[in-house]
């Protein structure tokens, strides 16, 4: 960190993952990138409820695929029915072509394979934020 204010600092991110440790690690990475407004949800349904009530308070969703109850791909289907372009980054260990194709066909904005580095994650977040015009000038 250079002490300079990051152009990511105004970004609001929602993490959806059923594993508390995974959410904590992800949040830690985001804070290190200069993102301070991070919200959390423990599964797809909780994530959907958060989005319903605070849609305007989230810029990007980072979502795990495999979760009990509503999984990541079903959450994405629901989200796409109301917003075709909302930035949605799928974080998953599924690297097979069938899974990637399925996520693309549903309309995923970005896809990152576990394990991933902080640099890779930041690159993906920047790509999504730039496309959605969510970065500070």
């Amino acid at each position: 960190m250079t002490g300079q204010k990051s152009d990511l600092s105004e970004l609001k991110v929602l993490i959806i993952d059923d594993m508390t440790e995974a959410r904590a690690m992800l949040k830690n990475m985001l804070v290190n990138m200069g993102i301070t407004q991070v919200f959390e949800a423990g599964d797809g349904r909780e994530g959907m409820r958060f989005m319903d009530s605070a849609f305007d308070f989230v810029d990007i969703v980072l979502c795990d695929w495999n979760m009990p109850g509503m999984d990541g791909i079903n959450l994405l289907r629901q989200l796409r029915s109301v917003d075709e372009a909302f930035p949605f980054l799928m974080i998953t260990g599924r690297g097979d072509i069938t899974s990637v194709s399925e996520a693309k066909s549903v309309g995923v904005s970005g896809y990152i394979l576990k394990p991933y580095s902080m640099v890779q994650l930041e690159a993906k977040i920047r790509i999504l934020a730039t496309r959605a015009n969510k970065l500070q000038a």
Partner: protein, 401 residues
Amino acid sequence: MKDDLKDTRNLQRQKMEALGQFAGGIAHDFNNLLSIIEGHTHIALRQLKEGRLDPEQLLKILASTQRGAGLTRQLLSFGRQKVGFDEKTNLVEAMRQQHVLLLPLLGATIQLFMTVPEDPVWINAAPDQLTQIILNLALNARDAMPCGGELAIMCMACQKRHIPAVLREKNPETSYIRLSVVDSGTGIPDDVLPRIFEPFFTTKDQGKGTGLGLSVVYGVVDQLKGTIEVSSAQGDGTSFDIFLPIAEAPAPSLTAENNVSDKGLAGKTILIAEDEPELREMLADMFNGLKMNVLSAGNGNQALSVQDEYDGDIDFLLTDVVMPEMDGVKLGEMFSSVRPDSNVVYMSGYPFMEGRRDLQVPEQAPFISKPIREDTVRKILERALERRQARLGGEHDGAEK
């Protein structure tokens, strides 16, 4: 207390004098170049209007911009900054090329003798660095011979016992070449000799010299891990002896420096990240001319976005180092994390200040100093491709075992 104040004022005055002399010298050299560029541009425009544009006019403009680039490189060398891509240069060839260029600069009253070995002598240096050494010493010698004289520039292998102790002790296994520049001029007075490598120090009239020439030579020799010795007697000429470590000959494919072709680059894809629109456009034109596929972005975030939307391979990312929002070093790191097989090439017109360690490009990364020259870019991109192919080949071999 009073003496301290006097010393401080004296030091301040000396600094201001030095700065004034320095600024005067730089302004003089740049104004000359700008006048030449402006003059030839007007002539070219007139010729264009009359439908008879002589390409010679454009070549003259190009030559002047290259001289300007040489001047900024001198300034950067003076600041001991990293100014270019690490490479090997044949000293013998560099001297031969300089011979032709020096003749008109020295004038008819100075006789130039040049002695070079038959075989190539490779030095870990950019061609510009060797040019700076030879050119600055030759011009210094010229100014020491206002009524004419003789200038000898010699290059010879150096026997172990003749290598200066400072180098021998530090690198006992290294072989050195000795480059000597000897003139029959007025010599350097004893009281001046200890100061000749000081930056800004000049005995020339204001506006005639930057006072950087010999300090640049000293800086470059130091960068190249060599040393310089000088001996002079008033009225009996001056002799500079430069000792440079000899490098191993480069791989055969890298020796054909002048045999650069765009065959390897045609069809390759390059992503340019540059915040200056005119420079970005010029680079795009240059790479289109080399039959490359060109993608461009005005900043780091945009570059990441462009690469994400592009389905094909991107062979090169050419990124400016200093850009708003996200600098080139960070972009290079992120780009490599999502496209690990691509080459990242850095370019900058800024020196890397000690205080900006956050803007240090990775060691061994290809680096281009602005202004950008097509032949340099081509050479660096081709080398980067060769290295990548070698790396991928090595990985492939490893996988088969």
